[in-house]
Symmetry: C2
């Protein structure tokens, strides 16, 4: 079945959704995005994603696209027409097309491009990967300096994913000045004793919406949270490791650079956090 996607006010068959070759996301990665998960046909953490989108737009002095105030309705309509029970909705705002290429931003009358499409993922919440755990490699973090802005400059994360695949692993953790920043499309955590350790917020990492929710739930469940940097060595000696992202929720990591973490199987704290996150998020879904 062909998906129906959203492009600048129109709902279109996916094959008809096309943009100009002069669109600035195509020519110079001048765009930002969000991915929102769908469970039980409802949106997870929608307000958080919308708020972060607004922040990304502001940081880049990008106009809000027409349709910004209707984003909830657009998301819901795409879920409805594409009959998504579990999956994701991808949203991108590009600075738009001025009909030519120029490093300088176009004038105000050039309107941003707004694109949304669904990805149907039956079984997303009940993922076998969550039972098995992920293997990661470490790679140098070669990304630009403003990773707090969720831009489409994803070539290096994409390269990182391919490096992981080539090494027979699932993902890569990026390392800058000896300290882990994050995964290619997720925040990174370790558990040591009673503490959940994850890098503090800064321009060096994405301010994960799932990260914020998981840390809140962890504190509510009386777990200790330390927001600080850690090394790959420390991670390899941790009791547990895991990642969080909108599309993987909480996902255990069982191996880093060939070293088993803890028992080499998904840890109880990651498991418990995944359970709480899914339960609370389903309750709050819209």
């Amino acid at each position: 079945m062909s998906r129906t996607v959203y492009l600048n006010g129109e709902y279109l068959p996916e094959a008809e959704a096309k943009i100009s070759i002069f669109d600035r996301s195509f020519l110079m990665a001048d765009g930002v995005y969000e991915v929102t998960s769908v469970l039980d046909g409802k949106l997870i953490d929608f307000d958080g994603h919308r708020a972060r989108l607004e922040r990304s737009l502001n940081e880049l002095e990008m106009q809000k696209p027409e349709g910004f105030d209707d984003l909830l309705d657009i998301h819901r309509e795409l879920v409805r027409v594409n009959e998504i029970d579990e999956g994701m909705i991808y949203l991108q705002v590009s600075r738009g097309s001025a009909g030519d290429r120029d490093f300088a931003y176009p004038s105000e009358d050039v309107k941003p491009t707004l694109v949304l499409f669904t990805q149907n993922k039956p079984g997303l919440a009940n993922s076998p990967a969550a039972k098995k755990g992920m293997k990661v490699i470490s790679i140098e973090d070669q990304r630009w300096g403003r990773r707090d802005i969720k831009t489409v400059q994803l070539l290096y994360p994409s390269m990182g994913k391919m490096m992981a695949k080539a090494a027979g692993c699932d993902d890569a953790w990026m390392v800058q000045d000896g300290m882990v920043t994050e995964g290619t499309s997720n925040n990174a955590y370790i558990v040591k004793g009673n503490s959940i350790i994850t890098r503090q917020l800064s321009n060096d990492i994405l301010h994960g919406i799932t990260r914020a929710a998981v840390l809140r739930f962890a504190k509510e469940a009386q777990m200790k949270v330390e927001e600080r940097s850690f090394t790959i060595d420390e991670a390899q000696e941790a009791d547990e490791a895991f990642i969080t992202s909108a599309s993987t929720f909480v996902m255990p990591v069982v191996e880093i650079d060939g070293a088993a973490i803890g028992t080499g199987t998904p840890g109880p704290i990651a498991g418990r956090l995944r359970e709480i996150y899914l339960e609370e998020s389903r309750k709050a879904a819209v």
Copy 2:
């Protein structure tokens, strides 16, 4: 007059040249590009640009697009139909569209997207800016680590151009660990005594095609060339400063962060190099 552009084997009116929303250059900046100048209706440094394109594709394990072997003909046809005497031809190769979004590269049967379009710039060689000189500001270099690959991850250079504009200047020189890397879309040079100083090649800067030609001409004209890093302080105390790029050739810089360089007017060495470059390039144009 509407331009004719090239897209995956077809010559199309620019308004009809559209790509899928799933194209990887649009979704994750997974694309590389080249800009070739046109003088007297002929291509400048074409072989250098094609060779660098091939290197960029190899570095990213991207397939050559259909049409790669015909690039010279495609460039010439676009010059002809768009009646370009002076201007530029922009070329982009995207990893293409697999019809969905995934960080992992698509399978081999997904073919790259090849786009080319012209930009008509009458008076390009006789630019008034070359007589007046440019003013630049310095900004921190926040780009990713593989600037030797000419990818479309140009958001930060674009932001830099806007910062320069806001400061009443023409461009920004980027600084990493206290040393100038390059301009937002050009290589940076200073002249001190009898020496032309420009940063050595590495992953930190673009391996400029115009840079290579200008350094060769400088050596042939018995000028001394030092390939090494320099600071903004050293640049401000230099006798001259300039940039090189495919579309600006050799362009004098007369002010850096508000400090006049030398006499505050275009210097004789930059002027002479521009002259030699234009003369030799016109001779060798194809």
